[in-house]
Symmetry: C2
Subunit: 472 residues, 2 copies
């Protein structure tokens, strides 16, 4: 088996709500610390493919998540290409763009395309499987990483292995099948089918050829989006109009179900896609009562449950097989067996126009983050955290004045034509209609309390006059 | 039956934790709106005994609750005597003090002693029963209001009716029995026992005589505490040293189980002591799925449950017979059948030193309230609400500066030797160590945001130099 260099392609643009209220459109689950390892699944995925035989990673994400992606990569000291999708597309677009970019960097590149929200604990087995699949991919196969089912789940698509290939667990792939009902799934298990993990290993050239053959409009759109891409700070920004022509479909449907080049490797590593809160409970380390307790929790006579709280004290007495998730502004309670219905619940919340359905209380921005801490009829209070070097846009508001009180660090405040420094325990008043800008010229985080007063304190009362992050 | 004038004696000093996290030591359940009637049970109790044949009420409460008692009475436009216990005692002390005070006002007073945390919906039946019991009390009996059991509960003490008296449901009382186990309770039900509601009707004279006979040290302590009581604003403040001599015991134990004068009236009204969250569910109006939903709730396929949230969005899928209670800083989840164990949970929290066990986030003060809205390493942010005419103490801090931003109304701010007015959308800075005072000279509530900055922001960093509420 030849050792090949493999380009990791992380697909990190999804915005799942199945782990609501922790995962929301504004900050989806791949960027959130779900387990006790101190990492998001995106970060854990990056670490799994760090170092030889893996090369510099390509991360494809939605442009909305660019700063969190950059920050989480920086925290791990991992450099890579961050490719920004101007709108949501399914996996076919990401794979096509990734294959094209990988080939530009390494003409005979082998790519491992990975979802950024899966959990794998046995990293060595994972890397060995990727290398084995990579060697087969270098021969022109598109290898699916198949998972040996632990139960007849109806939550996954299945693949049927065909003619064996050289190497343990490798075979040609006979066919893909959609998510079955449980009875059908039981039959699949008896016949040795595997779960389709949605992770693939292929040579860029093979994938591009197969896209050309089976989905030329996807390849054409992706090619144009890459050709006309612009570099913006550390990002590769795909051309929006070209990208917009790409059909919204999965790589499974666009290529894998049609190609004659498909293979499958039965993974030797553990795997979970944390598709719902009960999956997190299954994957996480449990105490002797079978509980996963994350955050400030007191649980009495509680068994086989997942209790998680970001901040508030969460207590339980005598519960069993329950999921209870508390964030600063929303709480979910459900039996583990009903955890799969969270997505439907979020749809209802969206239909009701509840902001908690999509938005987190803490909003991440390129310069740091802000969080509402109080809201009244004619006022709003926010805590604002600006990273060293961070700079908000030059802006003005029509309906509110603002009072800024610095509680840590030093602020550089532009107020109309003057620039001044406001230090810890000092404040400044920004009258309604003034042009103003906040920046952190210091070496530590700047924290301030903003008190807005006015007849309307909505986020959309903002005129951005200038912005270093190209948001005007 | 002679119509007698009845003095209501409300016992409102308890600090139960069985409805935690809503009820806490700092603001117990009798002062909290538990049902959808817009009233606390204390207020509902006051309204039940408003107007003839009931006279001016006497409210016995702990001194810590004096301002909430005064405010809740004022909100109903009900005047009464507010008697302050300097420390916690059981019901014997309250009944003795109440009987003595009632007799001073009306020598042949008949008193109805009521717990302030019970729920009665049929007010007319309640009033008629009190009048009937009052007529018997005027003849020298101490009447217990007995409740016809709806189940063989082991949560209540029972009373055995004896020789019938004139009037429907009235009899002499043979004996009191302690909380039984369920099997014993079943026997009690068969023999016609009633629940002891802890509410009594008696003439002041009879009660004083029986205290003299069976518990002279209680009467002596109560008499001295009343004799040496001081008037403080609208309150009757019992003498602390005299009050401290009164044994901590219930009126049941001190008098009722011993006296030969006991009678019982089988109540014709509905009754609940809301002893736990499942009782609140039982008493409250339910939707067609059997749920009680209080606050911003979305419940899917949820049945026979109590979901309550003060503020945050609370969601549930597929739960049954559950209690979930969310406040701003603490959450409780338990099956209804386990709701009786909340008190034990709170004991554990207290042992762990969790402030949420005893204190609410919103702290009521004579001048209004404050609530922490954010807390950092070297800062704290509070929302402060001052009633019209309210005035905080003249104070200073050793470890923090304060920034006040008025978001509604007008503040009168004393800063060392100057007094100024700070209006909506204005701010003022109070440097560390300065003498300062906040007051609301206006006609509407004053709302302000206080940002504290310093190395220590605990409540106990305060020197009170002067206080209109006698707290220096």
């Amino acid at each position: 088996m030849t050792q090949v260099s493999i380009t990791p392609l992380l697909m990190a643009g999804g915005a799942g709500t199945r782990l609501w209220p922790v995962s929301r459109d504004s900050m989806p689950k791949q960027f959130i610390q779900l387990l006790d390892d101190g990492l998001s699944t995106f970060q854990a995925t990056l670490l799994r493919v760090k170092g030889a035989p893996f090369g510099r990673p390509i991360v494809v994400t939605n442009q909305e998540f660019r700063f969190v992606v950059a920050e989480q990569m920086q925290a791990l000291d991992i450099a890579g290409d961050i490719v920004l999708e101007p709108e949501r597309r399914d996996s076919a677009a990401a794979v096509a763009v990734g294959a094209l970019l990988a080939q530009r960097q390494v003409p005979d590149a082998v790519v491992v395309a990975l979802a950024a929200d899966h959990v794998v604990k046995d990293v060595e087995a994972f890397r060995a499987d990727c290398a084995a699949a990579g060697a087969l991919a270098a021969t022109g196969l598109i290898m699916t990483l198949g998972i040996v089912p632990t139960e007849p789940s109806s939550a996954y698509g299945y693949v049927e292995p065909g003619e064996p290939l050289s190497g343990k667990g490798a075979s040609r792939l006979s066919r893909f099948v959609e998510k079955p009902d449980q009875a059908t799934a039981r039959g699949y298990l008896e016949r040795g089918f595997l779960w389709n993990s949605g992770n693939f290993v292929f040579s860029a050239e093979t994938m591009i050829d197969e896209l050309e053959r089976w989905a030329p409009e996807i390849l054409a759109g992706a090619g144009a989006a890459v050709d006309m891409a612009t570099s913006d700070l550390d990002f590769i920004r795909l051309d929006p109009s070209a990208f917009g022509t790409i059909p919204k479909t999965s790589i499974d449907y666009a290529v894998m179900e049609k190609t004659g080049q498909a293979g499958v490797l039965a993974a030797s590593f553990d795997w979970s896609d944390i598709g719902a809160w009960d999956s997190l409970h299954a994957v996480a380390v449990k105490d002797e009562a079978g509980n996963v307790l994350q955050g400030p929790i007191l649980a009495i006579d509680t068994t086989d449950s997942l209790l998680r709280s970001d901040d508030m004290l969460l207590t339980a007495i005598g519960v069993k097989d329950l999921v209870a998730i508390a964030t600063r502004d929303a709480i979910l309670i459900a039996p583990k067996s009903e955890a799969g219905r969270v997505k439907a619940l979020v749809e209802q919340l969206k239909a009701q126009g509840r902001p908690e359905a999509s938005e987190h209380l803490r909003m991440y921005r390129p310069w740091g983050w802000y969080q509402r801490i109080d809201l009244g009829a004619r006022f709003q209070v926010k805590r604002i955290n600006v990273k060293p070097g961070g700079k908000l846009s030059l802006q003005k508001h029509f309906h509110r004045s603002e009072h800024w009180i610095v509680v840590r660090g030093t602020a550089e405040v532009t107020l109309d034509d003057t620039v001044s420094h406001v230090h810890e325990n000092e404040s400044i008043y920004l009258p309604i209609g003034c042009k103003h800008r906040l920046a952190n010229p210091g070496k530590i985080d700047l924290e301030l309390i903003e008190v807005q007063v006015g007849s309307y304190t909505g986020e959309d009362d903002i005129v951005r006059l200038e912005d270093v992050y190209a948001r005007t």
